[in-house]
């Protein structure tokens, strides 16, 4: 092997090693920073990993926003009409946050099914619904109908007439 060839080979080997290392690092970061989106239905019905950061989205349920006077912490329900997930957040809320409005919360699962959010996003345009939230709501409506049917079925089987409400929430405080 000529010296030039040898040098070239070493250069190429060095490059390949460098690129390989960089790729490994990047892919690991990629894995760790993938944030999955869950609708309230998925959040309740699927086992959500407890340690991972994830996003949930839906509508802020009417009448659910609670704040102690003077406190920076708010609690509210995010709903897709089939289930509602309680969310706690401490900090300044975005401008368009209000009841009935679509939101996406980033955070992780806390104790008792409470979602601890570290970031709340509400969109800047009133007419604009994040596509993920819109789809979650569509799916949620279907799921609500299914659940109502299931509960009616169960009620008939036990002879108990008090079937759950049409929009029976998954969360009972």
């Amino acid at each position: 092997m000529t010296p030039t060839r040898k040098r070239r080979l070493m250069l190429v080997a060095g490059l390949v090693a460098g690129v390989g290392l960089a790729t490994t690092l990047a892919l690991r970061a990629f894995q760790e920073n993938m944030l999955y989106f869950y609708s309230p239905t998925e959040f309740v019905e699927i086992d959500v990993p407890a340690e991972r950061t994830l996003r949930i989205g839906g509508l802020v349920a009417d009448g659910s926003v609670q704040r102690e006077s003077g406190s920076m912490t708010v609690e509210f329900l995010v709903t897709d009409h089939a289930y509602s997930v309680p969310v706690r957040y401490t900090g300044v809320l975005p401008d368009l946050f209000r009841e009935g409005q679509g939101v996406v919360a980033r955070g992780r699962l806390g104790e008792g099914g409470l979602f601890l959010a570290d970031n709340i996003m509400a969109k800047h345009d009133e007419n604009y619904m994040p596509p993920e939230v819109a789809q979650a709501l569509e799916a949620g409506k279907m799921r609500a109908i299914e659940r109502a049917a299931e509960q009616a079925e169960a009620a008939r089987a036990t002879g108990n007439g008090s079937a759950g409400g049409y929009y029976g929430g998954g969360y009972q405080p």
């Binding site: 920073n33 993938m34 989106f37 950061t53």
Partner: protein
């Protein structure tokens, strides 16, 4: 009446763009000078009609013609006239019209400043630009007509989104588009070279100023967008790795690689097919950016459009343009390779490393940007990729890039001995390490590993960029190209300094501000005294009065606002910013907490101004490079016809 005039003008522009595409390309193959000669009048006519169409839409905005659907959706009788003009590009249809106008301006400039280039080459360049024009004009006319009427006309418009009512946002889209679309010129030059089957130093010299000009505008456009997001969105971030931001950043990265690769092609005749590939990629990424923004597949404030046919159109157009370009490249590029080699210790190697690292950065960002879209399209779940990924993925190639950049500026073409280089760079290296380690420790008390590395990198790049500008240290004759290179690299150093320090030492607190009770953030004391009502031209606001003290001394008074615009009724936060060289202080209002208290977000951002200042210096460096004498000389002399470019380029083959 006027809107219909605009509509007709758009149709005529489309017809002329078709002429501009077909005639010169056809003529370039048959050798018909008449057909090739049609290109310039067609381009000029297209610009005239694009101006008429754009003027017609502007007129409709200024005169409150709410019978035009686009005007009704993006303006209001209370909107100040300045924003009515800017509202022309405040939505999907109008911003496409802006795109068309910008493309026509670039095309006419190319036609005007190509007197020294061979006729056939110019015909092909204009023909390719015609293809792009046809694509965008028909997209606008068939899917997104800004002149569509609304019958019956509403009494008033729905107003421009309040967060777009801002001076910086009036100029951000035009700058960005001038940059984006400017890469179509480099693309057209590349395709023309492939059609010719030859490429030489003259080609690179023709292409360089156009690419640099586009790069300057894109740099300014991105920077202005970042600045706008910083103060208008109000949450103190200056870069969010939002897919739409990435969409403009990806062509910028490849454009930067292209500028460097073109230098090698011009000076040494190397990297020829690689340069062409970069030119094709830069424009393809511009188109991809347009697709991402205009198709509405992104969850983003920027995505105005939600009509799937629009996304499909751009996707198909992008597929055709990029696919055809790459096919042509695969066929013709092998004819253009040069077998000249180069030594490891040469400017060529360092530019190659620059290109590889920039391409890696681009690929990693592209992965994070597109992956969620693929997952969604394949129904594999909805994911988003968090900013920490982008931070890390971007840093990996950037640190070696910084290290090599400082050396690369001082390495000679062809070959240089390591010891000469080491002698030249010894002093800046020592100073960079000392300054990089001590400054963060002295001013901020403590420093992590990443902070130290970042600040050394910043000083290293700034110092090495300055060497050649010192009297007696640089080359005997400083060309403005060379000054431009030094300035642009110095600006990058400033940018790194700002990014490092603001990322390491910023402080943020969300607190309940009770009147009269001070809140301490990063040593500053913020005291809110109370709120009052304020009336603006088209909004009402609640304004808080906040006093800022440092060690008991008054620093400034801040007046953040919570605005409600009268038409759209949504609350909008107006952050109050105390700007300074050493730090920015930001206060934004959240919501009332009862008993006069408000939730507030207080932020301390050290050296954040260096981020935008650095990009400004980079752009000024680009302007210096553009003003280099040799571009003007080349035009005057009109030498080196492309016909004999087949021979190895000057200086090649060592």
């Amino acid at each position: 009446m006027i809107p219909e005039l605009g509509q007709v003008a758009l149709i005529l522009a489309l017809l002329l763009a078709m002429v501009q595409t077909v005639a010169p390309l056809w003529g370039s193959f048959t050798g018909s000078r008449v057909l090739m000669g049609l290109a310039k009048p067609a381009v000029t006519g297209q610009l005239v009609f694009a101006i008429v169409a754009f003027g017609a839409l502007t007129y409709a905005f200024v005169t409150h013609d709410f019978s035009v659907a686009f005007v009704a959706g993006h303006s209001n009788s209370e909107l100040p006239v300045f924003y009515r003009v800017g509202a022309v590009w405040g939505g999907h249809e109008g911003s496409l019209l802006l795109w068309i106008l910008v493309l026509a301006i670039w095309s006419v400039l190319v036609a005007a400043f190509s007197g020294h280039m061979p006729e056939r080459f110019v015909a092909r360049v204009l023909g390719v630009l015609g293809v792009v024009a046809v694509g965008f004009l028909s997209f606008t006319l068939f899917t997104s007509n800004p002149f569509d009427r609304l019958i019956p006309a509403p009494a008033d418009g729905q107003d421009l989104n309040p967060i777009l009512q801002d001076p910086a946002l009036m100029i951000h889209p035009p700058l960005l588009y001038i940059g984006y679309v400017g890469f179509s010129v480099a693309f057209a030059f590349a395709i023309a070279a492939l059609l010719e089957g030859r490429l030489d130093a003259a080609w690179a010299r023709w292409t360089r100023p156009w690419t640099t000009a586009a790069w300057v505008f894109l740099t300014l456009g991105i920077s202005l967008g970042s600045w706008w997001a910083y103060y208008e969105l109000g949450w103190g971030g200056w870069w969010f790795w939002d897919p739409v931001e990435n969409a403009s950043f990806l062509p910028w990265l490849i454009g930067t690689a292209l500028i460097h690769s073109l230098a090698v092609t011009e000076k040494r005749g190397l990297f020829r097919s690689w340069t062409l590939l970069l030119a094709i990629t830069a424009f393809s990424l511009s188109l991809l950016g347009t697709f991402l923004v205009r198709s509405g597949i992104l969850v983003s404030v920027h995505a105005f459009a939600t009509d799937p046919s629009r996304g499909l159109y751009i996707l198909v157009f992008m597929g055709i343009v990029t696919g055809a370009a790459l096919a042509l490249y695969a066929w013709r590029a092998p004819m253009l390779t040069s077998d000249a080699g180069f030594r490891p210790m040469s400017r060529e190697s360092f530019v190659l490393a620059n290109n590889i690292l920039l391409v890696i950065a681009t690929a990693l960002i592209l992965l994070g940007t597109l992956y969620p879209l693929f997952m969604d399209a394949l129904n594999l779940g909805k994911v988003s990729v968090g900013p920490p990924y982008f931070d890390l993925a971007f840093m990996i190639p950037m640190f070696p890039l910084m290290l090599l950049m400082g050396m690369g500026m001082h390495v000679m073409w062809r070959q240089m001995s390591v010891s000469v280089l080491a002698r030249k760079l010894r002093v800046p290296a020592v100073i960079a390490v000392i300054a990089g380690v001590t400054l963060p420790l002295v001013f901020y008390g403590s420093a992590g590993m990443l902070t130290i590395v970042g600040s050394i990198a910043a000083f290293w790049v700034m110092l090495t960029a300055l060497i050649d500008l010192l009297p007696g240290r640089g080359p005997a004759r400083l060309t403005s190209s060379h000054i431009g290179m030094c300035l642009a690299h110095f600006g990058l150093g400033m940018l790194i300094l700002g990014v490092t320090f603001v990322s390491s030492y910023d402080a943020e607190a969300d607190r309940a501000a009770v009147p009269g009770q001070p809140i301490e953030v990063a040593g500053y004391e913020f005291t809110m005294f109370g709120t009052r009502g304020v009336e603006g031209p088209n909004f009402s606001a609640i304004e808080a009065e906040v006093e800022v003290r440092l060690d008991g001394e008054l620093v400034t008074m801040l007046y953040p606002q919570k605005r409600v615009y009268r038409v759209q009724r949504d609350p909008v936060t107006q952050t109050a910013i105390a700007a300074g060289w050493r730090r920015d202080l930001l206060v934004s209002m959240g919501e009332p907490l009862g008993e006069g208290a408000w939730s507030v977000r207080i932020q301390y951002k050290p050296l954040v101004r260096f981020i935008w200042l650095g990009t400004l210096v980079m752009a000024i460096g680009g302007l210096f490079a553009l003003s280099d004498r040799r571009y003007r000389l080349a035009r005057r002399r009109s030498t080196e016809p492309l016909a004999d470019g087949r021979a190895p380029a000057p200086g090649g083959g060592s």
